[in-house]
């Protein structure tokens, strides 16, 4: 081993040792008399001191030496560990780390002065002891001696050995052996160090192999050679196993990063004057090394945040009836092909008001928005860049760059992060991260002739709707397509639309059948072309007889309409209209040519005008029919999960599931959030990998913030009735010249029409005799606009009345301008304060419609003062 290699070894092992020291010191602080931990800490410092001396790192040795002496006194019970000493020792650990860092980068210890630290440690170690010595110093020493001499690891077997001599070389050599055995203790198998870069290269080669395997499998699948098939099958299995094996080598337990947290938590807690206990569950959960690197900083930030902002000071906690010591829990587990990491604290949770105000202050939301935001939306404000409710920027957190960076970093590796909070009780941050980045199983789909890969981790299920099912199953809500999946509404997105690919229904060249699909672009072009042709004929540039003009059945549209279009889509009025107009169009064309042939140019020109107008109508109908065709063809719906919400992606075809190698996109394409990468398929062609979350956001099928009540914060999110989608039957009536209003149908008893003559006046009210009662009439527009129409007014012969019968009371007739329709639709009602008589407004049948508050209206009507001249 060369000098350089020895130093490198030393550094690597020392870093590990320092991490352990952090953990041990924090644990020791809570349990100062613990002999095992004391021994372990002493051993570690001793090792560092020894080796640094051997390697002539004098500054390091000086620092470690003082530390060792201090620890010696602790170990011997002459001093008891307290907060101050712990902090000093931790400071020593940091100093050692810094020196090591310097050695690592420059090869030397650098210019540094640790005098202050050394003086502090010296002072502490010289302090008169106040506490009792630990019992049994002898066994402890014996244990240490056993370790020092590189003997058997069993800690509870003190051996008869000569006391440790100050002989440095011996110490140093033993110190070298020591870490190995110490490590041997923690890992039950023998382990080996491998350079991460080496593993990366291995992974790359593995990726190439998977691609080649895919290609070979494709070729052999079309072969008849049994031997070849069998061999390729074995190759297939072997490659899969190899791939899994290589991936495993890169997996590391998350405990590796978690192990630093006890120290972090202690430091932060001390710094803020809080008491925090940390608990970790699932340390052994394994993640790919690159992922661990990516989430390390986000996790640290969240942990710091929880201690700094989440958990309250002991006094506040006691006042709130909690124990003075806060608890921070970390949980990690595998689920659904992802790694879940949860960080919860039992602190104060998020202060909604403060967040709202802070956001207002920073101009991140308008006052209007802020007033209307739900709890969930406010919580999600913390993910915005520049957001922080910390009053002062402490060293720890609160710089306002934290949470948005956390979210970005997690999402960059394909994960999701979510925060939930219960005021007074605490908060929980949940992260979900894919298990591996490089090789993933994916579903291959085809749209518009191109293949796309959808990572299986986001895939929930596949739904195929055929013909009639597709037509009926896909419903429109405000123009947005949805499908009822087992009772819940699933928002749909059409991949072809999201990718903005031209919607010429594809007709693949070489299909034998007169294509079932119509190229609408061609149809449109053809009919436009007729105009030009006719113009040329009239202008004598071209000759054409009426016979040559052909018949409706002959043109592309006709060829589709008659055998296919009318049969499949005949139910739609647009198609029937199209057929009519199309026949008319061709008749006009022939007529134009006829007139030209007869020499009547004037009328021919006129007829051309008609042709043009008809052509316009054809264009419109073609588009309408095209939409119908697109929407009503067989639908292949891929149900996907994005960020805890579901949506359906409609594609042309669903192909296989395959394992694909994820290749990153080049810089120019990275910004398109719809694509997560690219891959090479078995046939050598490139296919794009869809980014499910990006696609969902682009299609607006997931919203940034979701409206949830506090009650179902713990439940899985579902899309359905509790979302504010009310599916109700409403009566629509005309209000004023152009307005509309709606009444919930459940409130409508009957619809009546009363001739003007039957309206009578009682008091100052209009009434009508109705079913043996005298029913008062309320003019809706009068009440809402606070005016009064003269009794009996109305331009119509009769009044349209919606009869409302409140149980137990008599009926009331609501006079409206015109009853329009009764519809059943899902809509989201936007409530508005301060408008008497309306509950709110919603978009129904694509129009903004106010929803009548019937009881409110009636009450308002009754409150109105009597008209002048009426008898009191």
């Amino acid at each position: 081993m060369s000098d350089l290699e020895i130093v490198k070894e030393f550094l690597v092992e020392s870093y590990e040792n320092l991490d352990r020291l952090d953990r041990d010191l924090v644990a020791l602080e809570k349990d100062p008399g613990n002999p095992q931990i004391l021994a372990s800490v002493f051993r570690t410092i001793h090792t560092i001191k020894g080796t640094s001396g051997f390697l002539a790192f004098n500054k390091l040795e000086a620092v470690a030496h003082v530390g060792e002496s201090l620890l010696s006194r602790l170990r011997d019970g002459l001093l008891v560990l307290n907060s101050e000493i712990t902090s000093a020792l931790l400071a020593m650990v940091d100093a050692v780390r810094q020196i090591l860092g310097s050695i690592d980068s420059t090869g030397s210890e650098g210019e540094r002065n640790d005098q202050e630290l050394i003086a502090n440690l010296t002072r502490l170690l010289q302090a008169k002891t106040a506490a009792n010595p630990i019992s049994g110093p002898a066994p402890v020493q014996a244990e240490c001696q056993a370790e020092d001499h590189g003997e058997d690891q069993a800690e509870d077997q003190p051996k008869d050995l000569p006391p440790p001599g100050p002989a440095k070389p011996q110490d140093a050599v033993e110190a070298q052996n020591l870490p190995q055995q110490a490590r041997g203790q923690s890992a039950s198998d023998s382990t080996i160090r491998v350079d991460v870069a080496q593993l990366d290269r291995l992974m790359n080669r593995m990726g190439e192999l998977v691609l080649l395997r895919n290609q070979i499998v494709q070729f052999t699948n079309s072969s008849e050679n049994n031997g070849l098939l069998a061999t390729s099958q074995r190759l297939n299995l072997l490659t899969t196993e190899l791939q899994e094996g290589v991936m495993k080598t890169r997996m590391q337990p998350i405990g590796n990063i978690w192990s630093k947290f006890p120290r972090t938590v202690r430091d932060v807690a001390q710094g803020c004057g809080k008491q925090v206990r940390i608990e970790m569950e699932g340390k052994e959960t394994e993640l790919d090394k690159t992922i661990i690197e990516a989430i390390k900083d986000p996790l640290i930030h969240i942990v710091r945040n929880s201690v700094d902002h989440g958990i309250e000071s002991p006094e506040v906690r006691i006042a709130a009836g909690k124990s003075p010591e806060g608890q921070l829990s970390l949980r990690a587990f595998h689920e659904g092909g992802q790694v879940n990491i949860e960080i919860s604290d039992d602190g104060a949770g998020l202060d909604q008001e403060r967040i709202r105000n802070k956001a207002l202050q920073k101009g991140l939301v308008t006052a209007d928005q802020a007033a209307r935001m739900t709890e969930r939306e406010i919580t999600n404000l913390i993910w915005l860049p520049g957001f922080s409710t910390a009053e002062k920027v402490t060293n720890v957190s609160g710089r306002g760059v934290g949470m948005d960076v956390v979210k970005t970093n997690i999402e960059k590796i394909g994960g999701t992060v979510d925060l939930q909070s219960k005021p007074g009780r605490g908060s929980t941050v949940r992260m979900k991260i894919p298990l591996t980045l490089a090789i993933i199983p994916a579903l291959i789909v085809t749209t518009a002739g191109d293949r796309y890969a959808i990572p299986q981790v986001s895939l929930l299920e596949l739904v195929r709707l055929e013909g009639e099912q597709a037509r009926k199953g896909i419903e429109l809500v405000n123009g947005a397509p949805v499908y009822r999946l087992r009772g819940r509404l699933l928002p749909l997105a059409y991949l072809i639309r999201e990718l903005k690919i031209e919607t010429a229904a594809s007709s693949s060249p070489g299909s034998e059948v007169a294509s079932k699909d119509l190229d609408f672009t061609i149809a449109r072009d053809e009919h436009r072309a007729w105009i030009r042709t006719l113009q040329q004929v009239l202008g004598e540039k071209l000759g054409m007889t009426p016979e040559e003009a052909g018949y409706p059945e002959k043109c592309a549209l006709g060829q589709w309409l008659y055998p296919v279009g009318l049969k499949e889509y005949g139910a739609f009025s647009e198609i029937r209209a199209l057929e009519d107009i199309h026949k008319h169009f061709h008749a006009l064309v022939r007529e134009t040519l006829n007139l030209k042939q007869q020499g009547d140019l004037a009328r021919a020109a006129q007829e051309l005008g008609n042709v043009e107008r008809t052509s316009e109508r054809i264009m419109k109908l073609l588009t309408a029919v095209e939409n119908r065709v697109l929407e009503s063809e067989n639908a292949n719906i891929v149900v996907l999960r994005a960020d805890d919400q579901q949506f359906g992606l409609v594609v042309d075809e669903i192909n296989d599931t395959e394992e694909i190698v994820v290749k990153p996109l080049s810089k120019q394409l990275k910004s398109i959030n719809t694509f997560a990468g690219a891959t090479i398929m078995g046939d050598g062609k490139v296919a794009l990998i869809l980014d499910v979350l990006g696609l969902a956001q682009r299609a607006n099928v997931v919203s940034e913030a979701r409206d949830r009540t506090g009650a179902d914060q713990d439940e899985k999110q579902t899309l359905g009735a509790d979302e504010g989608y009310q599916r109700n039957a409403v009566l629509l009536f005309q209000y004023g010249a152009n307005g509309r209003m709606a009444i919930d149908l459940s409130l409508v008893a009957r619809l009546e029409e009363f001739p003007r003559e039957t309206i009578e006046v009682a008091g100052d009210r209009e009434v009508v005799q109705y079913r043996g009662q005298i029913m008062p009439l309320i003019r809706v527009s009068d009440v809402l606009e606070n005016k009064r129409s003269p009794a009996g007014e109305g331009s119509q012969e009769s009044l349209h009345v919606v009869v409302y019968a409140d149980q137990g009371r008599s009926s009331v007739g609501l006079v409206v301008d015109r009853i329009l329709d009764i519809v059943e639709e899902s809509y989201v009602m936007h409530r508005q304060e301060g408008r008497t008589g309306t509950l709110g407004s919603a978009v129904i049948q694509k129009r903004v419609t106010d929803i009548l508050d019937v009881p409110g209206l009636i009450a308002a009507a009754e409150r109105r003062p009597l008209a002048a001249g009426a008898s009191a």
Binding site: E208, L499, S666, Q668, S671, I672, T674, A678, G684, L688
Partner: protein, 150 residues
């Protein structure tokens, strides 16, 4: 002693271009491309170059020239850039030429701006002019657009 440089040359319509040989990784015939939706038309798609996925940029479109006729298949000039190889689609490949530094000139101001931004200069050869493509600029920025000069 004149300073000699070697250039890989190609044609775009009637324009003659060159790229220093060190910048060119390889020149290959037309490769089937996978189109990338939602990108500007200048990005024609992705090609599979021995297992590596390489972006293909249509230089005609980059220079706002009309598209080549459908029956004419482009050639690929794969250049090395800061962020990896990128392929330029060109009409025809020319020879590797040696040119004299002395004959280099910056493009005159009369050349319209878009071309000027993409061209480092001109070599005055005996029979024709060779435009030197600015590969980094031609490759474009993050949105596929040309990196703008300030």
């Amino acid at each position: 002693m004149a300073n000699i440089q070697q250039f890989c040359t190609f044609f775009l319509k009637d324009q003659f271009f060159g790229v220093p040989v060190q910048k060119v990784q390889e020149v290959i015939r037309y490769q089937e491309m996978t189109r990338v939706p939602l990108t500007p038309p200048v990005i024609r798609g992705l090609i599979n170059l021995r297992g590596q996925i390489v972006l293909a940029i249509d230089l005609r479109r980059r220079f706002a020239m009309e598209d080549r006729p459908e029956t004419q298949l482009p050639m690929n000039v794969v250049v090395r850039t800061e962020d990896g190889p990128v392929s330029f689609l060109v009409d025809e490949i020319g020879d590797v030429l040696e040119v004299d530094e002395e004959s280099f000139e910056r493009p005159p101001d009369t050349v319209e701006r878009q071309t000027r931004e993409l061209v480092l200069g001109v070599y005055k050869l005996r029979e024709r002019l060779m435009l030197v493509l600015d590969t980094e600029r031609a490759v474009g920025g993050e949105d596929g657009g040309v990196r703008k000069a300030s």
